[in-house]
């Protein structure tokens, strides 16, 4: 069900922007996402590592995500059954390094709306090639379920026991539909 997202502002973080209060919840992922936003998002910007986009009101942060360039690559050996022209050594990607919705606004479909915007924005009027969206997702059932629902697959089954899991969405599935 569409929410009234039109009442919010959607901005790109700059150094002069005053961050509004944000609380992503009391679980491990929530605490970490809050900490990243409050204490590290400007550092990542300063170091030219990630740019953060923020959905907010005058008084609070509703949601945010941080994006950075990425690639999905493989070691050189690969099965020759895959056609030559498809065997690139690497694909360009954009990584959603962090993505959080304030605890008071979770379950309002805001996360899916933002991901839809990300999918659209990296396939329309783009300035560089980008085949995949990758994410570094907290290894928590509700988090992984959200990304699975939004069309993401696991990049590497071997990170099953780590704190975060690498996942990807193939933008080709959107472009060709």
């Amino acid at each position: 069900m569409p929410n009234s997202i039109s009442k919010y502002k959607f901005i790109r973080l700059d150094f002069n922007h005053k961050l509004k209060p944000f609380d992503c919840g009391d679980n491990e992922a929530g605490i970490d996402l809050t900490d990243f936003f409050i204490n590290q998002s400007k550092d990542y910007l300063k170091q030219l590592l990630a740019v953060t986009y923020i959905l907010e009101t005058k008084n609070e942060t509703i949601a945010y995500y941080s994006v950075m360039n990425d690639r999905i690559e493989r070691t050189k050996k690969i099965n020759k059954s895959i056609p030559n022209k498809k065997r690139y050594a690497a694909y360009p990607a954009v990584k959603i390094g962090r993505f959080g919705v304030d605890k008071d606004h979770q379950r309002e479909n805001i996360g899916t709306q933002l991901f839809d915007y990300i999918k659209y924005s990296f396939t329309n009027n783009i300035k560089t090639g980008c085949r995949f969206i990758t994410i570094d997702a907290y290894n928590e059932p509700n988090v992984l379920k959200f990304y699975e629902k939004n069309g993401f697959f696991y990049t590497d089954p071997e990170d099953e026991l780590e704190e975060t899991r690498s996942m990807y969405f193939d933008l080709m599935d959107y472009v060709l539909s």
Partner: protein, 56 residues
């Protein structure tokens, strides 16, 4: 201190083969999303573009 953003792993072996096979299938149109989902993406993106204060 928040966890650092982890690098995307370099794929190897069967995992790499599985990934590249799916990528080739996608290029052949075998994993297209539904028309309804595509419409939802376009509509949601349009709503957010209206409130975006950059690129103006």
């Amino acid at each position: 201190m928040a966890l650092p953003i982890k690098d995307t792993p370099i794929l190897k072996g069967k995992n790499a083969e599985k990934f590249w096979k799916r990528a080739a299938e996608s290029e052949a149109g075998l994993h297209k999303i539904s028309v309804q989902e595509k419409m939802r993406i376009i509509e949601n993106a349009a709503e957010i573009e209206k409130i975006a204060e950059f690129n103006k």
